[in-house]
């Protein structure tokens, strides 16, 4: 159901803000209502952290006092953010399939507010889950100050906004949930594996390293590495300076939400 003309914001910021608010409120309400979704969303990173991390740390020697389990902790937080943000924006496909999207599309609010609302839903849900995963830090022998925790969560918030916007961009191209597995297998999983989550980017072969450098998730995971292991300069340490990480995720957020906004306006 398509219109050529772009729906320009009416200039009444309050109306648009209220629309963003209610879109976020809807997602949040459904999120806390579905306990199984929350449990499984939390279970995946926990399994990876303790089973993969626990097993691999027998194989991978610690570097500079950082064990492998500790090394992947930022990556596991990134994984939590990646999956929950993508799941959240993929809900657009569900909304299209079950008709609810029409209710939103005929309302007197701009398409861009719909995109911002969906991206902010992803941000809220992902950061909530990141908080839960972050509380596991004492169990893997890490010590974090309040400032570090705040910094990590701030990074998670920006990163999730960026990824959720990217997810909306993807969802704009698909009408049915058969496409969901395509997105998971060909976009989300490679994004995860080429993000420095499980192994340092600097150790990757050249081609893969270039791909990893184009992946915003890489910087979203590198930032907490900088924050958690500020003194580690060896292979277990961060790959880029913190300011680069922050700059990239900030810029990617803005770029993705604008592209997603334009695409959604044109397609939806």
């Amino acid at each position: 159901m398509i219109s050529n003309q772009l729906c320009v914001p009416t200039g009444d910021g309050m109306i648009e803000a209220r629309a963003v608010y209610v879109i976020v409120a809807r997602e949040y309400k459904k999120f806390i209502r579905e306990k199984t979704r929350l449990v499984s969303a939390i279970a995946r990173p926990v399994l990876w952290l303790f089973l993969v991390g626990g097993g691999m740390s027998k194989l991978v020697p610690a570097g500079g006092g950082v064990s492998y389990t500790q090394f992947i902790f930022p990556g596991i937080i990134g994984m939590t953010v990646l999956f929950s943000s993508i799941f959240s924006s993929i809900s657009i496909i569900w909304d299209k399939e079950f008709g609810f999207m029409k209710e939103i599309l005929v309302a007197p609010v701009s398409r861009f507010s719909v995109v911002v609302g969906k991206a902010m839903s992803g941000m809220l849900l992902s950061t909530t889950q990141a908080v839960i995963i972050l509380t596991l830090y004492p169990f893997i022998g890490l010590e974090l100050g309040l400032l570090q925790i705040a910094g990590i969560l701030l990074v998670c918030a920006v990163l999730s906004f960026s990824i959720a916007s990217f997810g909306i961009l993807l969802a704009s191209f698909y009408d049915s949930y058969e496409s969901f597995s395509v997105i998971m297998n060909f976009i989300v999983m490679p994004m995860f594996f080429l993000s420095g989550a499980m192994y340092p980017v600097k150790l990757l072969p050249t081609v893969l390293r270039i791909v990893a450098k184009c992946n915003p998730l890489t910087y979203g995971i590198d930032a907490p590495k900088n924050i958690i292991f500020p003194l580690e300069t060896g292979r277990m340490g961060a790959d880029f300076p913190l300011f680069v990480d922050v700059a990239v995720i900030l810029v990617s957020s803005v770029v993705f939400v604008l592209i997603a906004g334009k695409t959604f306006e044109r397609k939806a």
């Binding site: 159901m1 398509i2 219109s3 050529n4 003309q5 729906c7 009416t10 309050m14 109306i15 209220r18 629309a19 608010y21 209610v22 409120a25 809807r26 309400k29 459904k30 209502r33 579905e34 079950f98 008709g99 609810f100 999207m101 029409k102 209710e103 939103i104 599309l105 005929v106 309302a107 007197p108 609010v109 044109r266 397609k267």
Partner: protein, 328 residues
């Protein structure tokens, strides 16, 4: 006042001429019926009026606003009940309505009250906190109509509102819908392919293959086919036909063992017929023309004989067009 004005509206999907030079007007406060078989492009036309689709050429105005250029104004002025449910089944009825109230910028002080009023209007007050997925088809449809009214639109679009409902829910919904223009000061634009439902409309336009074939009040349209039809069974049809022509001066002919007579006022002719040739008459029945007869006469086919296949053909043509053209 004409609340909806459509002038030479045309929409193409590639080579497919979906809506072909359609023009009509709808008077404020009336029920307007858009009648046609599946695949007649009723929904395509509604989508243009609802600002979801732009026309290839022509204009549509709702409450004086151009549907293509002033979408925001038009959207504020309309409420829509789509053919397929557009409720969030994982939210409660109340939450669905509240969502709508926020989205349409209903003032904070009025939001709760309007939601409660809407629930009461459709008899769902007690089920307000139940998830919509627990609702029956009729309840969902009622909830959608109530939702469409929350922001007090000037025009309410109903796309096949009774599709898939059982007869009782259908008649309940109709009773409710026909009372809306007076009670809520709203104009109803509805589509249907049920002839008998269109009879409650103040005005009807019959659409087939994207073109309006005819329009008028239900009574006007019925007149088109020349009044009532009287069917007679007699002991000697041939002689009876001769007698009817000679004594009453009306045309009569035989089909399937029955004599049928077209007459503007059938009820006046029956006593005359009985008086003249009463002793040979075995049975008499009279049929009032239905809109189905109108449709049959104008298009040469039964409105309901059209299968879903026709609609599916168009849907798939439109879908593949969009795939190719970036959904222009």
């Amino acid at each position: 006042m004409q609340i909806i004005r459509v002038e030479n509206l045309t929409r193409r999907f590639g080579n497919l001429l979906a809506v072909d030079n359609v023009s009509f007007e709808v008077e404020e406060g009336t029920i307007f019926g858009f009648l046609g078989p599946n695949g007649a492009r009723k929904t395509t036309t509604i989508n243009i009026l609802c600002t979801l689709l732009s026309p290839t050429s022509g204009n549509a105005f709702i409450d004086g606003h151009d549907c293509n250029l002033e979408s925001s104004e038009v959207r504020k002025a309309i409420g829509i009940v789509f053919q397929d449910s557009s409720l969030d089944k994982d939210l409660t009825a109340r939450e669905n309505l509240l969502f709508h109230a926020y989205l349409y910028n209903v003032a904070r002080s009025e939001r709760k009250q309007r939601v409660e009023d809407a629930l009461r209007l459709v008899d769902l007050s007690e089920r307000g906190d139940d998830l919509v997925k627990k609702f029956s088809g009729g309840m969902k449809r009622r909830l959608e109509v109530a939702r469409g009214l929350i922001h007090r639109p000037k025009v309410l679009f109903l796309d096949e509102p009774t599709l898939g409902l059982d007869p009782q829910s259908r008649s309940n919904l109709w009773e409710f819908i026909t009372a809306l223009p007076k009670e809520h000061n709203v104009t109803i634009f509805m589509t249907t392919h049920y002839m008998e439902e269109a009879e409650v409309c103040d005005k009807i336009a019959i659409i087939d293959r994207g073109r309006i074939i005819t329009s008028g009040t239900p009574a006007e349209l019925k007149k088109l086919i020349g009044g009532d039809v009287i069917y007679l069974k007699t002991s000697d049809n041939k002689k009876a036909i001769q007698d009817i022509k000679k004594l009453l001066g009306v045309e009569a002919s035989e089909r399937d063992g029955e004599i049928f007579i077209s007459a503007l006022k059938g009820e006046v002719y029956i006593p005359k017929i009985i008086r003249e040739i009463g002793e040979s008459v075995l049975s008499v029945r009279m049929q009032r023309p239905t809109l189905n007869d109108v449709f049959l006469k104008l298009t040469g086919k039964e409105i309901r004989a059209e299968t879903a296949a026709a609609g599916d053909d168009i849907k798939s043509a439109v879908r593949s067009y969009r795939r190719r053209h970036d959904r222009g």
